[in-house]
Amino acid sequence: MSTGWTREQMAARAALDIPDGSYVNLGIGIPELVTQFVPEGREFIYHTENGLLGMGPPPADGERDLDLMNAGKKYVTAVPGAAYFHHADSFSMIRGGHIDVCVLGTMQVAANGDIANWSTGAPDAIPAVGGAMDLVQGVKKIYVITQHTTKNGEPKLVEKCSYPLTGPGVVSRIFTNLAVVDVTPDGFQVVELAPGVTFEEVEKNTGTSILPAE
């Protein structure tokens, strides 16, 4: 797909829908780019599952602290006003509904908000779930950033997930390279098209029915 939003533009578009003052947890991959596109005048506080609220950008060369990592096991920094805590407190923030927004990548999202992003279910795959199932059940709003289709052109927005679920009916909004899509009681609905992308193009690349923007 040559048209539509880049990875950075998808992250920037998602950032627009995060209110000022939100506590935000970001998944690995494109969601991490959200930190670079915080809209002017807004402040987000980043939570990372392994026990830090107030995560800052990666450290400058030569200044990494071996005891300061994020949930993706990358070295990070802590902003002024940050707090450290153990895992039970960290997941109390998640499960207890204290985190406002979680932005995740995915393999599939279904029209009813089901998400599958932890395992292909292949017999030789080593299952690894991390905090994904806690996040999708506990965080108030689950956003997804993903390419609209796989590298092979298969739709990632589907009627029913064929991969094992991370959580049922949890996703509220999806930011793809082609469009912003809401999960509604009537299924997928376009909120906004990327520049140069038509509704027909989105429809063709979606694995189930999708409603046009109102």
Partner: protein, 236 residues
């Protein structure tokens, strides 16, 4: 005066027995008690059930313990990562058992054991394959899954500062699961970068109160998993 100081890492892990359930603190490389793990490799206890978020990296620490054939079962949330090779190979060969537990459920199961709560209900995994066969119950119209506590015979943990009573502080995200594991194990063994006199840690700053700690080993200049891997190190 109570003094929980152990003369060496070797002495501290001496009584870990074959078939023991062992919790190991750390999240990836941060907070991993490498010296205690290597002492356990030297000690040689077998058929261990290991509890950690991951399965170790490279050929040092947790990965080395697994590679040494001492672990029969792993309880963790994320068994594969970029530099994790030992566990995936043994798992595919059917030589090691895996109990996969979501990260938050793993933390809470450990906390529950330390708190004397045999089980709890969580929304995590409801509607997924990981909830299959588990007891479900509705509270206020939402479905939850019952998860049991997770107890251990031993916990191996790394901290930043300890006093002889076992009061501990940690450093940044190296804290992770360690305070929970200290509570949940019958015998908690801690390696500390700094051992100070009782009273030198401000009581307001204690993260793990000494009641949860049994043995302390001072390791003033601990090795770090990422540094060892960058050096291409292996153990033993």
């Amino acid at each position: 005066m109570i003094n929980k100081k152990s003369p060496s890492a070797a002495a501290a892990v001496e009584d870990v027995f074959d078939g023991a359930v062992v919790m190991v603190g750390g999240f990836g490389a941060s907070g991993s008690p490498i010296e205690l793990i290597h002492a356990l490799i030297d000690q040689g206890a077998k058929d261990l059930t290991l509890i950690n978020n991951n399965t170790g990296n490279g050929e040092v620490g947790l990965a080395a313990l697994i590679a040494n054939g001492q672990v029969s079962k792993m309880i963790c949330s994320f068994p594969r990562s970029s530099q994790s090779r030992v566990f995936p190979k043994l798992y595919r060969e059917g030589k090691i058992e895996l109990e996969l537990v979501p990260q938050g459920t793993l933390a809470e199961r450990i906390r529950a054991a330390g708190a004397g709560i045999p089980a709890f209900y969580t929304p995590t995994t409801v509607g997924t394959v990981l909830a299959e066969g588990k007891e479900l119950r509705d509270f206020n119209g939402r479905t939850y899954v019952m998860e049991p506590w997770l107890e251990a015979d031993f916990a191996l943990v790394k901290c930043e500062v300890a006093d002889p009573l076992g009061n501990l502080t940690y450093n940044k995200t190296a804290r992770n699961f360690s305070p929970l594991m200290c509570m949940a194990a019958t015998t908690t063994i801690v390696q500390t970068k700094k051992l100070v006199a009782a009273g030198d840690i401000d009581p307001e700053h204690v993260i793990t109160p000494g009641i949860f700690v049994n043995r302390i080993v001072e390791v003033t200049d601990p090795v770090h998993e990422d540094t060892l891997i960058a050096e291409g190190a292996s153990y033993p």
